[in-house]
Amino acid sequence: MNYEQPGNPYLNPYLAGFLLGLTLLASFLILGTGLGASGGLARLSAWCGLCINPEQILNSEYFGAWGAQPLKYYLVFMLAGILVGGFVSAVLNRRVRIQTERGASYSAGKRLLLALLGGIIAGFASRLARGCTSGMALTGTALLTTGGVAFLLATFAGGYLTAYIFRRQWHD
């Protein structure tokens, strides 16, 4: 809790959570679906693939099902929204700072390598589980689906069991 952070202090976590819950509720009542982030990223991935090797992607079983225009999907627009909303909030509260976030005694190169590997793992796993922290843990648990709750518990299990291995990147 005692690390330095630029700009205004964060919002009270319970209030932030309450507002996030209202956002999720609005999504349920207006869109009829929950929130999602990894779906949009995967669509972006399919789109990149189409730029490089369209035939192979269109014939692949998983990305192929999304057709030739994978970006025409509501979750892609939601992802763009997260970007805009996050940026506006970060700018207004003077929290934008170019940096590689890590503990003072940890090298930036190693930190970025962990971020890359973690990203690959999280990207892959979110496809397997059909969602990430937003689409499965948050949305699924709010709807009390068995899979959502199971995903949430499994995520924490995986995180806590391996947290010790990655602790040094936060040592100051």
Partner: protein
């Protein structure tokens, strides 16, 4: 009752894209406000340094869950108007576990990394690049890992049903667990010093009370049973319902029921409206017990089935329940003509006791029905049908 973009089947419209953009912006704003543009803060939960992830996540879950509870029980929205993510239990436990490793390794998850990236975090940009690569790798690996992708497919599954609870009761339980978790988080952050907790003003007292009151109200509304089903403007005309009657679209013959059940092509549920005692004595294999007074509510979960067959001893109670179900838009409901009496007479009666002349194929079919519904195959409960019951 409001319609959603999903229920009106227009998630690919420009309108839907704009709404998604706005909701996404609110989502991103909340994440940034919560401090989730920082990987150090996100990873904090795994080292018990900063419990913000748990506080924010559970506050959001409870808020949305209770909000939905109110919306459903006050009849604001039909449950089917919301897309429920399917449960593929094995894939989600395995995927969740692997995801957790990626989360703690990088300090990011997809949504928060987008917020981190626009806050200037280079590690978040690298994470997003990795996540795109990981999705790409998944596409390649898909033919190999398909068995895992479909491992433990339960379809739409709700944890409260699995645990044998009603929605409202379970929602209260989740709220209580969340409030306890909030206080434990505060204790962890303050090094288990109750004095410092007392000094800290996080508004948690007010929030706890507010959430618990909401949860008790949702439970009470759920228990009252009738609230969500006041007859309101449903857009269904009496003439429309009556024309179904005129055309005979209100019922289905017992033989047809038997054939559909055995064919197994359609999603069918037999709703047995008799008393629990009668149901326990004998019922057609595969039927569910539905108390008449709760029929509209209990059948909610079968709304998207191809066929809901209403069954009782005779056709009178099902016929009356059918009319009420029509008012609530159950276009898939049918009365089983002649009721269970008809089912015994026309489906289950042994060939030797039948007066009419039967062709060879009819004999074969009747014998098949008897094995399927009375034999060891599908039978549930007692193997012999009860005597003539009372309506």
């Amino acid at each position: 009752m409001i319609e959603t973009i999903y229920s009106s089947n227009s998630l690919s419209s420009v309108n839907a894209f704009l709404i998604s953009l706005v909701i996404g912006a609110a989502f991103g704003w909340c994440l940034e406000q919560a401090g989730f543009g920082s990987s150090r803060r996100l990873a904090g939960i795994f080292y018990f340094r900063d419990m913000a992830v748990l506080k924010v996540m559970f506050s959001a879950v409870v808020t949305a869950m209770l909000g939905l509870g109110f919306a459903f029980s006050l009849g604001v929205i039909r449950p089917e108007a919301i897309y429920i993510p399917e449960t593929i239990l094995g894939a989600q436990i395995l995927g969740g576990f692997i995801f957790g490793i990626g989360f703690v390794m990088s300090g990011w998850c997809p949504g928060t990394a987008v917020v981190g990236a626009v806050s200037g975090k280079f590690d978040a940009v690298v994470f997003l690049f990795g996540a795109i690569l990981g999705s790409y790798a998944f596409n390649y690996a898909y033919p190999l890992i398909e068995p895992f992708y479909t491992w433990g497919d339960l379809g739409i599954s709700h944890i409260y049903q699995v645990a044998g609870f009603e929605f409202g009761d379970f929602a209260l339980l989740v709220t209580v667990v969340a409030v306890i978790a909030f206080w434990i988080s505060e204790l962890i952050e303050e090094g288990f010093s109750f004095r410092r907790i007392a000094e800290r003003s996080s508004g948690l007292w007010a929030f706890s009370v507010f959430m618990l009151i909401g949860a008790v109200m949702v439970m009470a509304l759920g228990r009252s049973g009738t609230t969500g089903y006041k007859v309101v403007e449903t857009g269904i005309y009496a003439s429309e319902v009556l024309s179904h009657v005129e055309k005979g679209e209100d019922h289905i013959e017992p033989e047809q029921v038997a054939r559909e059940l055995i064919a197994g092509q359609k999603r069918i549920v037999l709703a047995d409206l008799r008393t629990r005692q009668e149901f326990d004595e004998w019922h057609i294999p595969g039927s569910v017990h539905v108390p008449v007074t709760n029929a509209v509510k209990v059948l909610e979960r079968y709304r998207d089935y191809d066929l809901v067959v209403l069954v009782s001893n005779g056709p009178v109670h099902p016929g009356q329940a059918w009319v009420v179900l029509q008012i609530f838009g159950y276009k898939n409901a049918r009365v089983m003509a002649d009721g269970l009496h008809g089912f015994f007479e026309r489906v289950l009666k042994p060939v030797s006791l039948r007066m009419e002349v039967l062709s060879h194929s009819q004999v074969k079919e009747i014998n098949h029905w008897r094995t399927m519904f009375l034999g060891s195959g599908m039978a549930v409960g007692s193997a012999s049908p009860p005597g003539v019951g009372t309506e």
